[in-house]
Each structure stands twice: as C-alpha cells, then as structure tokens.
Symmetry: C2
Subunit: 129 residues, 2 copies
C-alpha cells in the first residue's frame, strides 16, 4: 500500500519534491509496484505533518509524469510499466551519481578515498534504512 515508511524530510529541497522523489525511488527499487494504492492526500498530509495541498502538488506532478493515475473519488494508483521504470532508473542514477562525484571531486577527495568511505558508511547505515 506504500506507507512512506522511510521518508526523511531534508531541508533545502521543497517538501513536495521530496515526496515525488520518494515515490520515484520506491518504484525504481521495486518497493512500490504497479497497481499499488497510494495513501490519500489527507492521510499522507496528516502522517507527514504537512498541508494537504503540499501532498496534492506532489501527486499532481507524479501524475503528469505518468507514474500514478487518479480518478475522482477513488484512491490514486501507481502506474509503472517496465519501460517507464527502466527509463526512470537510468535517469535517477545518472543524475545522483554525477552530482555526487562532482561534489566529492570538488571537495578534493581522491577516488580511492571516496570508494573506501562509501564502502565503510554503507555497512554503517545498513540497518538504519
């Protein structure tokens, strides 16, 4: 049913974009599947402690993206055909890794040091997700 369990709001990025990103990542990871129901606007807004309009803005964007479908009166459903998911996965990974590599390089880190850091932090955060 997609309960937004691991959702961690971070400041800097607008909340509605964080909601969009959460669903996109879930679909790419497979934890959110085609046909799954999303929580209603009101339910999720209460759960996250934000305004219903903020959730609506996120769902609106997801619908324009083709990732969810909404019919008035019923809950919104995830629409995730394989080709869309594949394209989304490539897009997200490319974006994130590119930005990350650029930032680490700008911080003066060598590749080997970066890989080692990630290797260690990966284990460290293993349970906290």
């Amino acid at each position: 049913m997609c309960g937004f369990e691991g959702f961690v709001p971070v400041d800097g990025l607008p909340i509605y974009l964080q909601i969009v990103r959460y669903v996109e990542r879930g679909v790419v990871a497979g934890s959110i599947a085609h046909g799954d129901e999303l929580p209603s606007r009101r339910t999720l807004s209460a759960q996250l402690g934000v305004n219903p309009n903020t959730v609506q803005k996120a769902y609106r964007m997801l619908e324009e993206e083709g990732l969810i479908t909404s019919r008035s009166g019923a809950k919104s459903e995830v629409c995730a055909p394989p080709d869309l998911v594949a394209a989304l996965r490539s897009k997200l990974l490319e974006q994130e890794i590119t930005a990350f590599v650029r930032s680490l390089r700008q911080s003066g880190l060598e590749k080997e040091a970066a890989l080692e850091l990630i290797d260690r932090l990966w284990e460290q955060k293993e349970e906290s997700v």
Copy 2:
C-alpha cells in the same frame, strides 16, 4: 583570487546556498586558501548573472560561519584556520556521503553495483571539472 571557475548552478537548491557550498568545498579542497580575496559582490553577481543582493546573502552567511571576513570598503577575505577547515571537511563529507548512500540504497542498488558505478563515472567525469 578565487574566480568561481567550476561553478555550476543547479535548480532545486537556492542560488545563495550554492554559492556558500562552493566556497566551503573550495576551502576544504584547498583551492581556496586563507587570505585569498573573494570577488566583490557586484563583480560576482555580474559573472554569475544573478542579483548583487543574492551574492550578499551568501557572503553574509559565510561571514556568520566565520569563513570570510569583511571590512567596509575593502574586498572580503577568506579566513580558514586549520581546525575550522578540518571540522568543515568532516561535516561536509559526512553529510553528503550519508545522504548519497541512503538515496542509492532507497533506489534498490547493492553496494557492489554502486561502487562499480562510481568507479566508472569517476573516470568519465575526470576532465570535465
């Protein structure tokens, strides 16, 4: 003199925060050193194509952070004592890598696949920075 050469504006994050982040990373990387002069508010705003007030907001934040000093009439200078730089380096790396690892894990990627991707993209972006 710190010319903001590799500055790449990204949408999502406010510009003034991107300017702050750029200086912070430069100091951590050593490409911006103690005593270096920053471009004036007006010069940098023209160079980046943004409003002088936006640059001022960034410089203000950097000054409150203790990373630059400003005296009215003269150019602002970088103030980067070793202990401040070390603390900043730890803070930035911890923040970025933690967020990155969480996002990749949320996207369903395994550690080995992630490390391999980064290893490959690192070489690929080697010249573009």
